[in-house]
């Protein structure tokens, strides 16, 4: 197997006397989907914020493409090729898909005071990139507000991929979606992976993770409980690890089925 693009070793993060992360080890290889699973409060958000340069780890090392690295800001991480799609998606509903797609990174033509937003090129690229992801837009000037949740998620992913992401971090991309839209987003993740991008898929839904994941790491109370490869583990075991085992078994017994 190829060497990891990014390797995070024994990451610790303390906020005053609160220990949010207590030794997390995680890596992503090109062309794989590595799922990070954990219940609410497990430290998933803190961890991906560390990975995307928002927070600095209190302890631990980050190795990016074989070299030790420390991100000063989210921008540094973005420039290195780590793109994060947060739950709010950084999308503006009133603006067109094209304007959202190129927000902050507009292509220009002309020079001097005639330097202007090259809207035709931007429209073409947007339509083409969205088509690659399996979405046919009504037009590039369609407002993002008219898209479904899954489509918005896909625009955000397509944007990250277009701007050269090597590692794509997706923060619970399926948590607010219906069944159909979830399937679409999972298909998009699959496409992205096939392009050789390392995907970090954060979720607390085991079934969604099992559908696309190559490896699974479970986070519980700020610690990694280990990493399993696809086929080594079944959903029930993952579920138990996430919940910390015991109580889940009792709950399931009283509810009479798998949650």
């Amino acid at each position: 197997m190829s060497a990891p693009i990014i390797h995070m070793e024994n990451i610790k993060k303390h906020y005053g006397n609160v220990i949010a992360l207590n030794g997390v080890t995680f890596d992503v290889r090109a062309g794989e989907c590595h799922c990070l699973l954990g219940d609410n409060g497990a430290g998933k958000s803190t961890f991906i914020k560390t990975m995307s340069g928002v927070h600095k780890p209190t302890e631990g090392t980050i190795t990016f493409e074989g070299k030790p690295l420390s991100f000063g800001s989210p921008r540094d991480a973005m420039e290195a090729g780590i793109a994060t799609v947060f739950q709010d998606l950084a999308m503006i509903p009133l603006m067109s898909v094209t304007r959202n797609f190129f927000m902050g990174r507009e292509p220009t033509k002309g020079r001097g005071i005639f330097k202007r937003f090259d809207i035709d090129t931007a429209n073409e690229i947007t339509m083409a990139e969205m088509r690659k992801m399996g979405i046919n837009l009504r037009g590039p000037d369609q407002a993002v507000g008219t898209l479904s949740g899954g489509e918005r998620q896909t625009v955000a992913i397509a944007r990250a991929v277009y701007f050269g992401a090597k590692v794509l971090i997706l923060d619970e991309p399926t948590s607010a979606l219906g069944v159909r839209q979830t399937a679409n987003v999972l298909a998009t993740i699959n496409r992205v992976r096939e392009q050789g991008i390392g995907v970090v898929f954060i979720s607390h839904n085991v079934r969604h993770a099992m559908a696309v994941g190559d490896r699974f790491t479970v986070l519980n109370r700020g610690q990694t409980l280990g990493t399993a490869t696809r086929g080594e583990i079944n959903p029930a075991q993952l579920q138990d690890m996430m919940a910390g085992g015991q109580e889940m078994a009792e709950l399931e017994g009283s509810l009479g089925g798998t949650i």
Binding site: I92, M103, R105, F117, K132, N136, G145, T146
Partner: protein, 368 residues
């Protein structure tokens, strides 16, 4: 999946007729408004309203308001308000008057200095809004009183107790920059049109309309440039993004702070420009100059399709909004109606525009 199976068009979407597309433009309401108001005055007003001199008559106040309105529209699209622009007109007028009359500066120094001072005050507004995180509505409401008061105190101080500063026309007379900021432009075209028999002239052969008042030229140029910047430059995209969702914009690499501060500076400078033009034109300045203009500018922007919540609107819409404003204010004098109906009319227009904009926004975002 191959791309050609995906490239087929979505069967759920009917092709969109042109009218439906137009329905989604923010300036539609304002253009419709201009048409309605024109029809109204065609029926009720004296025919002289739509002669060339009549048009110049209502376009002059429209232009003075429009310069403010377009700046206010850009700021509103960027997600902020500036309630201090009316007072800024008075303050900048006072400063400009003092520079030219009391200090005796030539325009080439007085105008840039006045604009720079206004820009600095605008930047201060922006800085306070960004630092404190308070709504710009409140911060600039303070500015409304502070600047109005400062204009009054300043006038008294420099005139020895009067609230009016006179002698500005005499002070700037003969200055080579004066024709750019006062009087009429393109007089030669008017004379040529008279010779060609296209426009009316007095018996002496002097055209009835000596030229186009300079503020109209400034107004048209400003709206053209603002529209270009908004729709065709990266900065325009940043303005929309900043007003739409400042956090999302910031996370996408848009320099949100710089955009907002620049917009505050622009509105303040637009107010100073209006002050310079109107003060030279009147030859004097007083503390009531620009009174209520902040609200009228916001009305023009809202009639022009700007949402109060930011992130949506148009500069060309504010252009038409200001024209509606000018037509109503001046147009009523051409009718048999009491002129004071104008405020009633304006309030009704504002309410209609806000309701209409809300519908448009739902259409655009697909909310139901």
């Amino acid at each position: 999946m191959s791309t050609d199976t995906l490239a087929h068009s979505d069967e759920r979407i009917k092709s969109e007729p042109l009218l439906a597309k137009l329905m989604k433009r923010p300036e539609l309401g304002a253009i419709g408004g201009v048409v309605l108001v024109t029809i109204f005055f065609m029926i009720t007003a004296d025919r002289t309203m739509f002669t060339l001199s009549g048009v110049m008559n209502f376009m002059t106040p429209a232009a003075q308001l429009g310069i403010l309105g377009i700046a206010a529209a850009l700021l509103m699209i960027g997600g902020e308000f500036d309630l201090s622009i009316g007072s800024m007109v008075a303050f900048a007028g006072m400063v400009f008057g003092v520079f030219t009359v009391n200090v005796g500066m030539p325009l080439i120094i007085a105008i840039p200095l006045t604009l720079a001072l206004a820009a600095a005050l605008g930047a201060t507004n922006g800085m306070i809004v960004l630092r404190t995180g308070l709504p710009s509505f409140i911060v600039t409401l303070a500015g409304l009183f502070v600047l109005r008061g400062a204009a009054l105190v300043g006038l008294k101080l420099f005139t020895g107790g009067s609230t009016q500063l006179r002698g500005i026309r005499e002070a700037v007379e003969g200055d080579f920059l004066a024709p750019i900021f006062s009087g009429d432009a393109f007089g030669f075209i008017m004379r040529w049109l008279v010779e060609a028999g296209i426009v009316d002239s007095f018996k002496s052969g002097v055209p009835k309309v000596p030229g186009i008042p300079v503020e109209i030229i400034w107004f048209v140029a400003f709206s053209a440039i603002a529209t270009y910047i908004l729709l065709r430059t990266p900065i325009g995209n940043w303005i929309f993004a900043t007003g739409g969702d400042a956090l999302a914009a910031k996370n996408s690499g848009v320099p949100v702070r710089r955009v907002k501060i620049s917009l505050f500076m622009l509105t303040a400078m637009a107010a100073a420009l209006v002050a310079i033009i109107t003060v030279i034109d009147a030859g004097s300045t007083d503390a009531r100059r620009g009174f209520m203009k902040e609200f009228e500018a916001i009305i023009a922007a809202v009639i022009g399709g700007c949402l109060l919540t930011g992130g949506y609107g148009s500069a060309i819409g504010a252009f038409f909004g200001a024209i509606i404003f000018g037509m109503v204010t001046i147009g009523l004098t051409y009718t048999k109606f009491d002129q004071d109906w104008f405020q009633v009319f304006l309030g009704a227009m504002l309410l209609l525009a806000v309701i209409f904009n809300n519908v448009i926004r739902r259409r655009v975002t697909g909310e139901r």
